[in-house]
């Protein structure tokens, strides 16, 4: 027997009861508890079959104990129909296991509101990585025979003297990291920081920041700053349907959007070509199409 207090009610789990009399006995003993008084009772009935009159007597029992029936969670078709006839709300309650795995909106708000800085710990920023400012990606394209962004939308930033000299790079596979899935628009001033991969369905507006230990994928327009592999993972990638990030950062390498590259005020979605930014030869390279092994 398990019961949990929730925000607007009181869950009574009766899914393990074998028959109606046991159910009513269990229920009345729980309703006797002081914390169940004046609450909206949510009944978890499992697959117990109840008809309309049985349900009505349960309702009467709850009301006689100064309670009110809030909703019913049931797997039984008969009980569901009976509840609907009595106009009792029937809802699918999340099981506890599911609830643990899902990131709640409150947690996401917390992540969005608070800037979790990746602190330059002694452990994370070691071993030299040469920062070569390369503006032209065509060499790489010829070598690999790959489709490149020809318009040089980005130029590498010379971060010598700006960033700490040393950073410990590693080649972890981002796939082994957990992924934060988010279905919302990231607006100016919002920072999303996560020790894993970040997947956003929506746009990341200019002025927003996405910082991930692993990959960043935006199913929409990426307009803010994106830092993949923020703790030095050189295998991390940034993907977006429209890659307009004001700055792209992968591990310890930074690229800024070219001054001459004009971003239209409004972009039509039929112009989108998925793009991916990866680290190659100490430069951030943008591919317009995902490679086969992506």
């Amino acid at each position: 027997m398990d019961n949990n207090s929730i925000e607007n009610g009181f869950i009574v789990d009766l899914s393990n009861t074998k028959n109606t009399s046991q159910l009513i006995y269990e229920l009345s003993s729980i309703l006797d508890l002081p914390e169940a008084r004046n609450k909206k009772i949510c009944l978890k009935l499992g697959d117990t079959d109840l008809n309309q009159s049985q349900l009505l007597s349960i309702k009467a029992l709850i009301e006689s104990m100064q309670g009110e029936i809030g909703m019913i969670d049931t797997a039984s078709v008969q009980t569901k129909a009976a509840a609907e006839n009595l106009s009792i709300l029937v809802t699918e309650l999340k099981s506890e296991v599911e609830a643990e795995q899902t990131v709640t909106p409150e947690e996401i708000d917390k992540v969005l509101g608070i800037v979790t800085t990746i602190d330059g710990d002694d452990e994370t920023h070691k071993e030299n990585i040469p920062l070569t400012p390369i503006a032209d990606f065509s060499e790489v394209a010829e070598a690999g025979g790959l489709i490149l962004n020809g318009d040089s939308k980005y130029v590498m930033m010379d971060t010598t003297g700006i960033l700490p000299d040393e950073q410990k790079n590693h080649e972890e596979n981002p796939e082994s990291l957990p992924t934060l899935y988010l279905n919302r628009t990231l607006r100016s001033g919002q920072t999303l920081s996560y020790d894993g991969n970040i997947f956003i369905v929506g746009d990341a507006h200019p002025g927003s920041e996405i910082i991930a230990k692993g990959d960043i994928t935006v199913w929409g327009i990426l307009g803010g700053i994106a830092h993949a592999g923020a703790q030095g993972n050189v295998n991390a990638k940034v993907r977006a349907l429209k890659l307009n990030a004001i700055q792209l950062r992968i591990a310890g390498l930074y690229a800024r959007r070219n001054d001459t590259y004009n971003v239209p005020y409004v972009q039509k979605s039929n112009e989108f070509t998925p793009e991916v930014a990866v680290l190659e030869n100490n430069s951030i390279v943008i591919y317009k199409k995902l490679r086969r092994d992506e």
């Binding site: 330059g120 930033m157 919002q190 001054d259």
Partner: protein, 274 residues
Amino acid sequence: MTGRVIVITSGKGGVGKTTTSANIGTALAKAGNKVVLIDTDIGLRNLDLLLGLENRIVYTIVDVVEGRCKLKQALVKDKKNPNLSLLAAAQTRDKSAVSEEQLKDICETLKKDNDFILVDCPAGIEQGFQNAVAGASEAIVVTTPEMSAIRDADRIIGLLSAKEEIESYKLLLNRVRPNLIATNDMMSVEDVVELLACDLIGIIPEDTGIISSTNKGDPIVNDEKSLAGQAYRNVARRIMGEEVDFLNLEEDKNFIGKIKNFFEKTIKEIKAKI
């Protein structure tokens, strides 16, 4: 070298503090001064956009005060003018992220190797304003010839005059439209100066070029033909101590008027020479 720290403030929002900061800063740098612009509008930063430097920002003022980088690392050099640099505000934080003392320290440090430190103040009179003013010894109050902006400017002048550290404050009248003044639909420059009882440092005419210059991230002082750009360059010269006449914005548009103006100007110049 001891630089001058000038705060650019207004009280009311949208009167052109940031545009003024970007333009005066650029004009001062063009004249050969070493200039640092500080954006103190944390959480609603814009100065980087007006200068076209958004893509170069790695560290912000908040990173400096929280010790994640050195002040020097956070200064973003201008694209065109190496004399000009920007200390950007953080977009992902709010005004409480820095304190008055911290801003004062930053200004003191920057004073050592710069001629001018211009502090772009956020709208309002709360913490953001107090922070911005903390390190400054001079102030430019930006206002437009509208009652609401003037009322707020008056409030700001009152607050500034109560601060011991502020040695002088000047008024900059922005978005002046001579044709509206002529038809009595807008307060005249004289009216505003009389209402606020404050010395004028510049009169900037309304200029549609400002809109495109802001969107492009290229301050209008870089446009030699623009009247507003000329007015901002004059403000910079006045800050540097030169005596520059205010632009004659009420210049007659018709041909005879132009000829009249030309003669008046020539006679004035001849008289000056004699």
